[in-house]
Symmetry: C2
Subunit: 400 residues, 2 copies
């Protein structure tokens, strides 16, 4: 009875979510302390105290009808102004409220951006490995996802492959920086090169191509590396942001879309995205949390916690002989599978009640994703299991 498009999705129901639910089942059987669930990007650091304080204050002091009522589909104007001002202060941009559409998280912002621009058959390029849902988002609007291989080892995009894949059908490029699942940050020179290639290709092909910059991990950076703010390098950029990770509010579904004045047909594009917000059924971002985040823009969750996890799990896995790149941002570690079929590796880890996501879910087989946004104790308790898996595969690590 279900639609053709959904049949495939129901069959291959997101591996990530299946793992999440399997983790819950194992927790019930063995106790949560004996399951090491690294499958989902569900923050384990509480939101800043100010989030609770401001939410309570708004509930107790604001007029309830307007606090919980409808507003413009783009969000409360004063919230959008505060976000614009905060971005301008931090990144030297020149946004105003008319550039900011509040959204039901970054996922919804990406959907609104794609619905605003895609005609059937239009191509959207992204860089592997990538967040598995991009393919579904593009497919929602009958677009075609085109993927660019990474440089092996560094997981930076291969720009020659990127340029070769741009065609007259290319309508957008999705960039996820810092990257899920690798934790890699695309540097300023990479973004500059991407902008140059796109500008040249647009002239050649007489088209407009948009960058959709998916930035839920912007604030989660453990080094001095800067995450370039792409609107400054390329005018046709739409930024999709979420407070899910920076403020540990993934369940509240609060984020925004930026359409800068410099983008082609910016005003019409912003209107289209806002109408998409309405007709896709979100209507508007949740009203209380719009006002909460606007009061907390200088805050972020204590990410030193993730930094400590990152160091511990990276050091340990390297010591056991696993091959992985030290992530600079986000809260994922991308680990090379000791055997070609990483699903076998995932199964082997599951015997130790360690839950990981196969890289094939990110268009990058041969690797697995480990989400280290868990308690530090979970990391520590999982390490003997990782050591046994390393021994099982005969890995020769410095510490084995």
């Amino acid at each position: 009875m279900i639609s053709e498009k959904m049949k495939g999705l129901v069959r291959n129901n997101s591996v990530i979510r299946q793992m999440f639910e399997e983790g819950q089942r194992l927790s019930e059987e063995f106790g949560p302390e004996n399951v090491y669930d690294f499958s989902l990007g569900n923050p384990n650091v509480p939101p800043p105290d100010r989030v609770r304080e401001k939410a309570v204050k708004l509930l107790e002091e604001e007029d309830a009808c307007s606090l919980h009522g409808y507003m413009n589909n783009a969000g409360f104007p004063e919230v959008r102004s505060k976000i614009a001002e905060n971005l301008n202060r931090r990144f030297g941009t020149a946004f105003h409220s008319g550039n900011i559409m509040m959204s039901v998280g970054a996922a919804s912002a990406i959907n609104c951006a794609l619905k605003a621009i895609l005609n059937p058959g239009d191509e959207v390029i992204t860089f592997a490995p990538f967040f598995v849902e991009y393919r579904n988002y593009v497919n929602n609007y009958d677009g075609v996802l085109v993927t660019v291989e990474p440089d092996p080892g560094s997981f930076q995009p291969r720009l020659s492959d990127f340029e070769a894949k741009i065609s007259a059908k290319t309508k957008a490029v999705i960039i996820n920086n810092p990257n899920n699942p690798t934790g890699v940050i695309y540097r300023e020179e990479t973004i500059k090169s991407i902008a140059e290639i796109l500008t040249r290709k647009m002239r050649e092909l007489n088209t407009e191509i948009f960058i959709i910059s998916d930035e839920p991990y912007r604030e989660l950076v453990y080094t001095d590396t800067k995450v370039p703010f792409i609107t400054k390098y390329y005018p046709n950029t739409m930024v999709c942001y979420s407070f899910s990770k920076s403020m540990s509010l993934p369940g509240e579904r609060i984020g925004y879309l930026i359409v800068p004045d410099e983008a082609a047909d910016a005003e019409e594009l912003f209107a289209a995205a806002t109408i998409a917000n309405r007709v896709l059924g979100s209507v508007n971002a949740p009203s209380l949390f719009q006002k909460v985040v606007a009061e907390c823009l200088e805050e972020k969750a204590d990410i030193s916690f993730y930094g400590k996890n990152r160091d511990t799990v990276y050091e340990a896995l390297k010591n056991y002989g696993f091959d992985c790149v030290l992530p600079e941002g986000a809260f994922y570690l991308f680990v090379k599978s000791p055997v070609p079929d990483e699903k076998e590796f995932v199964s082997e880890c599951k015997k130790e009640r360690i839950l990981l996501v196969p890289g094939s879910s990110f268009d990058c087989p041969g690797y697995v994703r480990l989400a280290y946004c868990v308690s530090h104790e979970t990391i520590l308790r999982s390490l003997p299991g990782f050591k046994r898996v390393a021994e099982h595969y005969g890995l020769k690590g410095s510490g084995v």
Copy 2:
């Protein structure tokens, strides 16, 4: 630069929203007390006190990581169980948590239901007049909206026209009860007839047809008329509910979808709707408000307030000579335009700073919609303006 599908939408940007924004502009110019904005269904009755109390309690006492964290895309299991139990107690149904998917309001639930079942070209029937967005929702999945004329005067569906419009392409029927924009309630005998027609047609055509029952106004009823719970009359029913009106929380985007066990391929259908929730970008209903509404299921906003408004505005307009049907539910009055082109009537009212929505927005030209979910004072202050408009058109009312 925007997609073909969005071009039309941007051009005809929802008349309702335009009015809303025009109302704000007039408010700034003339002062809010001198603008009588009846254009939008934005509740003016505050949520029950318990909503604030429970929200504050949850914020202060629950673990913040799980309160604001991800959960199954269908929502928190305990929230879904409580809703199922509440429905079972009130309507004699037999739902369990596996039948309930929490959603970003009813609009998102309808989108998830449609995405789950529609293939391009599939037809969806609805009864005019209807909520303007249905056409856009169906168009999101390349379906075709087919409309059934109402019985003039009563605004009940013409069942002969309904039966004639069912074809092998018919995949779903959207029913909105109580109805926006008329306030009419479809009675048990109507629902029984619709169920009989559909059952017969499904056998004839060897298809499955779903009822999508859009019920944000279920709790807003001013008479003893019962709003039939359609799953009890027709197994292939998906119910889309929202707490927007019953608890005055439209900005919070909290509702649910019901897929009963008796529906065709129920399990697969529920999975498809839940995946649709994820891939359309909502991911899950806002987490705090899932828990809040679960604690407030016995509550509703004080709708006697709307009842008082209904009586006042209906009596006054009848007295001035306007033609309208006394609404039994929702918070809309559907008024016959004194001139064939209701947009002219809308313009005439705007001169009195009275904002109404033309019936052509609901596929029912010749009428206008008046949303009386405003302060009682707004109703009272608007009446002299309505009287002048009646005089302008030479209406002969009992009180003019």
